[in-house]
């Protein structure tokens, strides 16, 4: 075969014959989960170049003491952009891409549950990324760290637009991530192949499923914090400004309530990849599947509980520190369980050290180191000494690079044959592996020592102290090893795409369903599926005389398959808890005591009660509309639907009038903490009512045009859930904002 035909054959995989005519749009307009997965990864790769160059600039600045390559401001830009980019624009998109590609295949589905939502999610990533990087043209990027602690990130101290772009960009990315999380959950719940019960999910799919819950629970906390920061910066709010009575520490609480789970949002997919690759390359089923699966649930749970250990140095007091030391140390248990299980899987196996396995073993070892230094940070007194030093930098890079990037690389070497139909080069793979591992350990292992020697992080240069110079030099050299490894890796990707060895359907003799179809899979994924009785259907298929023990069906819940649209809306509603929860808690925190000046006493409770009754009544009317639909009485359904829209409209108008009269009496967002919290909480609820009304109008329009037959109109029930949810939120908001001051 000469080069030309090979290239044509590869392009044949990239585009179907029909698509050649409009090839420019074929990938841009795709809703196929496989292409979206690849787009996610490619976008992540582009931003990896950005984040990587920023990292190299940081290391070049630090190569010698008192260096003047980057000034202090530029250095702050670099580490802020590096952190933000690597987490939100590299780690998350690339992992979402792998999950997007593999999850539907592994559960025997045709596609994700909501393909168009999936496309929205992927295109929000470049949108957010461009917004973030546009700040370079708009007066300079943010210089406040990826955590953007207040009050530094507030307008008086960061008056450039950088922080605004940062916050808006993360909001866009957060919305995209939540949409992807919802999609993963609903896909697992509704798109599984027959026989693929929840207990038969392979570990990768199970972990993606659990991780998606963490995404929809944690990301909205960040979204809430970001809108509060933006209200402070753009509308003169007072949430985090100490001189307005606000609390700068509150930002840290909310940020880390998101930030700690975020670590697991990117770590659990890495665990998922290890759990898939290690057994296949040890030729053994995973040791203690149930323990690995259950420990994932526990990690999800615990990760939401321990954020305060990021704040030991803030001065929360010994009492609070003590509780969070204990809770944080507990996380070592489920993660330790995983490490033991992966190691035990390799023991006694016929281990093949090909590139995917090499990366995964390295990830396991680096995670062991990162995990142990992590436990050392859970101990408050040690944390006080090392938190602002390079010891912490070394710790979290062991997690983010050592565990996560290595697992991603292992995963790409493992699944690239499935995605492209061609193998990556084993020879170049070994080169990239050694460049990456040696480079990584040169860069970061020595930073433990630097940190313990007292070198502070987030500082643009350092004095020529004994030992610091050569250690920094080693660290910088290591970074360039990793850069070389990365370039070689991309070279391998490109050349193998055209000239790689053909892979066949199942080059690794793996056992899960993604290997039961061609490489790359056809648009519809499968022609036929093998029967599924266990977690390794291809093993059973290949070894009919000694199959895995059948995993029995564990009751109705094991085969649970809810309606897709309703499951989607319910999952979305769960994701809203975090958002409104933060806004409500913030309101309570700032309004616990009655202060002088305008306050809740000034609100016209009677008028709002009347409007609220309209809103509560609309829950009844939409229920009646559904009753009408079930009775196949379309006239009744439409009439009650219109009544719902009218009642919701009255509420919105009422809220508008209330806002108007408050504005007239001089109560605006920036007046004081009451006004800031009041307008934010009721305003975001109002916004939800408004979007609910739009959805109701769409549903009404569809009902008027299409006249649904036989009571089949799931959109109405789905909007109904959302509408009830908006009403329930108002029950809480109304009680807290309007009724509570009356009885206090």
């Amino acid at each position: 075969m000469n080069g030309n035909t090979t290239i044509t054959a590869t392009v044949g995989h990239l585009l179907t014959p029909a698509e050649r005519q409009h090839w420019k749009l074929a990938w841009l307009s795709t809703v196929d989960h496989k292409r979206i997965g690849i787009l996610y990864m490619l976008i992540g790769l582009v931003f990896f170049v950005f984040g990587g160059i920023e990292a190299l600039l940081i290391r070049l600045q630090l190569i010698v003491p008192n260096n003047t390559l980057l000034g202090p401001d530029t250095y702050n830009w670099m580490f802020t952009m590096h952190g933000t980019t690597m987490i939100f624009l590299v780690a998350m998109p690339v992992l979402f891409g792998i999950m997007n590609y593999i999850l539907p295949l592994q559960i025997g589905a045709r596609d994700m549950a909501f393909p168009r939502l999936n496309a929205l999610g992927v295109w929000l990533v470049p949108f957010g990324g461009i917004l973030l990087h546009f700040s370079f043209l708009a007066g300079g990027p943010p210089a406040v760290g990826w955590f953007a602690y207040t009050p530094l990130s507030e307008a008086p101290y960061s008056s450039q637009l950088g922080v605004d772009y940062w916050a808006i960009s993360l909001l866009v990315l957060g919305v995209g991530s939540v949409s992807a999380g919802i999609n993963f959950i609903v896909t697992v719940l509704t798109q599984r192949a027959p026989g693929m019960t929840l207990r038969r999910l392979p570990l990768f799919s199970w972990m993606v499923f659990m991780n998606a819950f963490l995404v929809i629970l944690a990301l909205p906390l960040l979204n809430a914090a970001l809108v509060m920061l933006l209200i402070d910066r753009l509308l003169g709010g007072r949430f985090f400004l100490p001189f307005g009575g606000g609390s700068a520490i509150l930002w840290q609480h909310i940020f880390w309530a998101f930030g700690h789970p975020e670590v697991y949002i990117v770590a659990i997919p890495a665990f998922a990849i290890l759990s898939e690759v290690i057994p296949v390359f040890s030729r053994k089923p995973i040791f203690g599947h149930e323990f690995v699966a259950a420990s994932t649930v526990i990690i999800v749970f615990l990760s939401l509980l321990v954020w305060a250990h990021h704040m030991f140095t803030v001065g929360l007091g010994h009492t609070i520190d003590l509780f969070f030391v204990a809770a944080s140390v507990l996380i070592a248990v489920p993660t330790g369980v995983k490490l033991f299980n992966w190691s035990a899987t390799m023991v006694g196996g016929r281990v093949r050290f090909t590139t995917p396995m090499l990366y995964c073993v390295a990830a396991l070892l680096q995670f062991l180191i990162g995990g142990l230094t992590g436990i050392s940070h859970a101990v408050a007194p040690l944390d006080w000494q090392t938190k602002n030093s390079y010891y912490l930098v070394a710790h979290f890079h062991n997690i983010f690079v050592g565990l996560i990037v290595f697992a991603i690389l292992g995963g790409i070497y493992y699944w690239f044959p499935k995605m492209s139909g061609r193998m990556l080069s084993e020879r170049i793979g070994k080169w990239t592996f050694w460049l990456m591992t040696i480079g990584f350990n040169l860069t970061f292992m020595i930073q433990h020592v630097l940190g313990l020697a007292g070198m502070p992080r987030r500082t643009f240069t350092y004095p020529d102290l004994p030992g610091w110079t050569w250690m920094n030099m080693v660290s910088t050299i290591g970074a360039f090893f990793m850069a070389a490894g990365s370039i070689l890796f991309v070279w391998d990707l490109v050349t193998s795409l055209f000239r790689g060895k053909p892979a066949g359907d199942n080059p690794w003799n793996a056992w899960t369903l993604e290997w039961a179809t061609t490489s790359p899979p056809p648009h519809e994924n499968f022609n036929a599926l093998p029967p599924i009785h266990s977690r390794r259907p291809l093993w059973d298929y290949a070894n009919p005389d000694r199959p895995d023990p059948v995993v029995p069906v564990g009751g109705a819940i094991d085969t649970f398959r809810p309606d897709k649209i309703k499951a989607g809306v319910m999952t979305f509603i769960i994701s809203e808890f975090g958002f409104f929860g933060v806004l409500i808690l913030t309101y309570l925190f700032y309004n616990a005591t009655s202060k002088s000046g305008p306050g809740a006493q000034q609100l016209d409770v009677l008028k709002t009660t009347i409007f609220s009754i309209c809103l509560f009544a609309s829950s009844f009317t939409i229920w009646q509309s559904e009753v009408g639909l079930r009775a196949n009485n379309l006239g009744k359904m439409k009439a009650w639907l219109i009544a719902t829209i009218v009642l919701g409209g009255i509420f919105i108008v009422g809220q508008g009038l209330e806002y108007w009269s408050l504005f007239q009496s001089g109560v605006t967002v920036g007046l004081d903490l009451f006004a800031t919290t009041f307008f934010t909480l009721t305003g975001f609820h109002g916004l939800h009512v408004f979007f609910g009304l739009l959805a109701l109008l769409v549903v009404l329009g569809v009902a008027l045009i299409s006249n649904p037959k036989n009571g089949r109109f799931p959109a109405l029930g789905a909007v109904g859930y959302y509408w009830h949810f908006v009403d329930v939120v108002w029950v809480f908001v109304f009680s807290i904002v309007y009724l509570w001051p009356l009885i206090r």
Binding site: A294, V297, F301, P549, L588, T593
Partner: protein, 261 residues
């Protein structure tokens, strides 16, 4: 008073509590005889003693909000759970009653007991009035029993499915954490009666504030944290048990083929 004197001299020999312990033991033996599961009941009654008779009760009676919170958690979560576990596995209770069988009711009972009794007037009244205090104790045990029924009913078919139970426990943890967070960071006193103990009946105020270093502010913080962290760990332990239930293979000697294929 020294700490040692405190631990020896402040036991509350409450007749009603002692009588209910005896009654529970007698009733259990009469109904189910002496099985191994009576150990759970004895453990449960031990926790009951710890909550209501040991010095913890003296502290909770007007001195320390955090002691009250610990008492609250023990009575709501630990005692009823151990009582459920003490029942022989054939016992069926309340499956006929819609009210008790509904998971939503169970959830509201468990979480509501936390929120309701920390409303400021009720929290104060439970300290100042003996009657309200007795009402609080019995309602906590009752509501805890309703809450745990979904998880710990002796018969497998009366419990929630494991994934449902995980959601039930997880959301209960979140709901209690929110209250715990509010109490921990609240700038105002949640239960003002603890901020100024009316009379130092036991003469231990000095011991608590100087020797132990627990000021009213810190006291409330500990109370909130108890609800926020250790209480969630109780739910977490229950979640671990549910996961074990979910992943446990029912013993199947012959391969069981499912109907869906």
């Amino acid at each position: 008073m020294t700490t040692q004197q405190f631990f020896t001299s402040t036991w509350t020999w409450n007749l009603a509590a002692l009588a209910s312990i005896a009654a529970a033991l007698v009733a259990y033996v009469w109904a189910f005889g002496l099985g191994r599961r009576i150990l759970y009941l004895i453990a449960g009654l031990g926790v009951f003693v710890l909550a209501l008779i040991s010095p913890l009760n003296a502290l909770a009676a007007g001195y320390l909000f955090s002691a009250h919170m610990l008492q609250h958690i023990l009575l709501l979560l630990i005692v009823p759970a151990l009582v459920w576990m003490s029942l022989p596995r054939w016992v069926s209770l309340g499956s006929r009653s819609w009210l008790v069988a509904n998971p939503f009711v169970g959830w509201i009972a468990g979480v509501g007991a936390m929120w309701l009794w920390h409303a400021r007037p009720l929290c104060n009244a439970a300290v100042s009035s003996q009657f309200v205090n007795a009402l609080q104790i019995s309602s906590l045990i009752l509501l805890g029993t309703i809450f745990w029924r979904q998880i710990l009913a002796p018969r497998e078919e009366e419990r929630m499915s494991p994934p449902g139970a995980v959601l039930y426990l997880f959301s209960a943890c979140v709901a209690c954490s929110i209250l715990g967070i509010l109490i921990t960071f609240s700038p105002v006193s949640v239960c003002p009666i603890y901020a100024q103990p009316p009379t130092d009946r036991l003469r231990i105020l000095n011991l608590i504030q100087s020797n132990w270093g627990i000021t009213p502010d810190k006291d409330q913080q500990i109370g909130g944290l108890l609800m926020w962290v250790p209480m969630c760990l109780v739910y977490l332990s229950a979640i671990v048990a549910q996961l074990a239930r979910w992943f446990a293979h029912p013993v199947a000697s012959a391969p069981v083929m499912d109907k869906h294929l």
